[in-house]
Symmetry: C2
Subunit: 160 residues, 2 copies
């Protein structure tokens, strides 16, 4: 890949090199994730959902009755920030906050019927879109990709 112009001259028009960053898989992950994120945002927009509100619905759907602290942990966000999210979902009648008799400090979160319907619609829309994004990737490669991601996610700074 020869340099066409002398050193210290700005690259002709807009062909900027990122060779140094490209050596890092983490950089490729960021670039790829930005594409996915943009597609997810676009897909959820007509349903008036953001990535985090969709994720909240999905986690509540998988764990009916869980507490806000547990949900915050699953979403990896701070409890204070979760409050406004659950506020919005409750206001839109997608989620209910039910008092727990055995511990009146906590709420048991549930999807409402409308919450369940919206979760199903959003999940199907995202599945369709993800297939398009991953379209060029073969089945075996996709399995390898998922395995690699799990491996990375399992990394702990302390070990090794």
């Amino acid at each position: 890949m020869p340099r066409e112009s002398a050193a210290k001259v700005p690259t002709p028009s807009s062909a900027i090199s990122d060779t140094t960053l490209r050596q890092f898989t983490g950089y490729g992950m960021k670039r790829a994730f930005m594409v996915i994120q943009a597609d997810v945002t676009r897909t959820l927009e007509p349903l008036d959902l953001r990535m985090v509100t969709f994720s909240a619905l999905a986690i509540i759907g998988d764990n009916p009755g869980l507490s806000q602290t547990q949900l915050a942990g699953a979403l990896a966000i701070e409890r204070p920030n979760l409050v406004v999210i659950v506020d919005e979902l409750e206001r839109r009648d997608l989620v209910s906050r039910d008092r727990v008799p055995t511990d009146r400090r906590t709420y048991a979160l549930q999807l409402t019927a409308e919450g369940r319907r919206l979760l199903v619609r959003a999940t199907e829309a995202l599945r369709t879109h993800e297939i398009r994004v991953m379209h060029g990737i073969g089945g075996a490669d996709l399995a390898t990709l998922i395995g690699c991601l799990s491996q990375i996610e399992a990394f702990e700074p302390g070990k090794s």
Copy 2:
């Protein structure tokens, strides 16, 4: 994976399921990227660099003389937000803003000698850390991973 408790009872202690989200490769990418991001942040901290300031140094190093508009494009951030970043790098004497005689509106960005030294140190530190994070992934799988990421990055909403 049988449910141990009756429906609508909070999950015992803290074993929250994310089955619905796990079907999406994008979710796995986000989780994996969060781990990488945390490691990168920790690695760059002693060098007083953030992800974005390191990336700026790397792009300037690969494209000496480029303009701030070009750098903003390469980093995918808005021009106004880049100004404060370049301000900081210039104040720390890592980057120079040189006037271009042929177009006195633009600056030609260059790494200083100290900027080059810091870039090398940071790149080596990150390389070591990335090897640890990717440690469990075989060579062939890593190549597949990188290929998949490129494929995803190349996705365009319009096509297909």
